[in-house]
């Protein structure tokens, strides 16, 4: 799958070969900005679509750069692809995601309304992340519900191992 670069993009990227090895730029700041934007677009779109090495090379070929510059760009793409994809995945609409869980066993011995109790409970601190914000929720549950939670979630994990899920994962690529 080839990356489609518009005329504007090609123009922006056209300034790249002009950068000499000493790193001195003799052009306007606009040109530099466009160049950076063009490069960013090239890398993020390629990473987003997860295009192959060959497709990347072919896409860049239309820019008419030198062999050396093409190789450099390819290396840049391959080196940074994973990280770019990680960052892009964080941009998706998302719910709070699980970070950590701390637990504590408590036994309630008495309350204002009833003395001499033995009421076991599990106190849980759930750590969640959302858009970079760290959120914690303190919750409680009783032993019976705790067992129920474990049972339900173990079933959830087992689902991934079923034939149905394996088939889907195998066939949708």
């Amino acid at each position: 799958m080839l990356l489609e670069l518009s005329e504007e993009h090609k123009e922006h990227l056209a300034f790249l070969p002009q950068v000499d090895s000493a790193g001195k730029l003799n052009v306007s700041s606009d040109t530099v900005q466009h160049g950076v934007e063009g490069l960013t677009y090239l890398l993020t779109e390629s990473s987003k679509l997860m295009i192959s090495e060959l497709d990347f090379q072919d896409s860049v070929f239309v820019l008419g750069f030198s062999e050396e510059l093409n190789k450099l760009l390819l290396q840049l793409y391959l080196d940074n692809r994973k990280e770019i994809r990680t960052i892009l995945s964080e941009l998706a609409p998302s719910l709070p995601s699980y970070h950590n869980l701390e637990w504590r066993l408590d036994v309630q011995l008495a309350s204002r309304s009833l003395r001499q109790q033995i009421k076991p409970a599990v106190t849980i601190k759930l750590h969640l992340n959302q858009n970079g914000d760290h959120n914690t929720k303190v919750l409680q549950t009783d032993p019976a519900t705790l067992l129920h939670l474990v049972q339900q979630l173990e079933q959830a994990l087992e689902e991934m191992k079923t034939n149905h899920c394996r088939r889907v994962v195998r066939n949708i690529k």
């Binding site: 998706a92 699980y98 003395r115 919750l139 705790l146 949708i172």
Partner: protein, 177 residues
């Protein structure tokens, strides 16, 4: 006659034979008249209820009850009646008292969803499974039932389940001591 909705509703409950059989209906009706017409009766009922609550709160045993009732000049027969009634209702009373009070939001249930992520508008060709877990929570403060939802990967869910299992095993060990 203008009665508020709640009063009307409460009164209509008396018509239901499933809520109050004819015996209970008669007793309730009499008690209602008595508490209105007889100031003493009203006071006595209130006092009895208060005493029962206190006894329940402190988990009074039969001898404690008997001693106090004797001090109040109850005769043998009435003491027996009182203790029998108390014994019959003791468990329900304790459950009621135990449920009063503030506590942390309480998890009541969990539901989950397994999905296979294919692409977003920012990222194509994702191909990874993800779980969406929703905890049903009950709050003592408000009658609301908020839910806590979060997503997690398979590894994260394994971590979560592992930790819950540790808590569960610890609980089992603690109750065996």
């Amino acid at each position: 006659m203008e009665l508020s909705e709640s009063v009307q509703k409460g009164f209509q409950m008396l018509a239901d034979p499933r809520s109050f059989d004819s015996n209970a209906f008669t007793l309730l009706l009499r008690a209602a008249f008595q508490s209105l017409l007889d100031a003493q009766a009203d006071e006595a009922v209130l006092a009895a209820a208060t005493y029962i609550l206190e006894a329940g709160k402190h988990r009074a045993d039969k001898s404690t009850l008997s001693t106090y009732l004797e001090d109040c000049k109850f005769d043998r027969e009435r003491i027996e009646l009182f203790c029998t009634e108390y014994q019959n209702n003791k468990n329900s009373l304790e459950i009621l008292l135990g449920s009063i009070g503030r506590s942390l939001p309480h998890i009541t249930d969990v539901s989950w969803r397994l999905e296979y992520q294919i692409k977003t508008n920012q990222l194509h060709r994702m191909y990874r499974p993800a779980y969406l877990v929703t905890l049903s929570v009950q709050n003592t403060d408000s009658p609301s039932y908020p839910e806590i939802s979060f997503s997690c990967s398979m590894e994260q869910l394994q971590d979560l389940v592992g930790k819950l299992k540790d808590a569960s095993k610890s609980l089992e060990r603690a109750t065996q001591l």
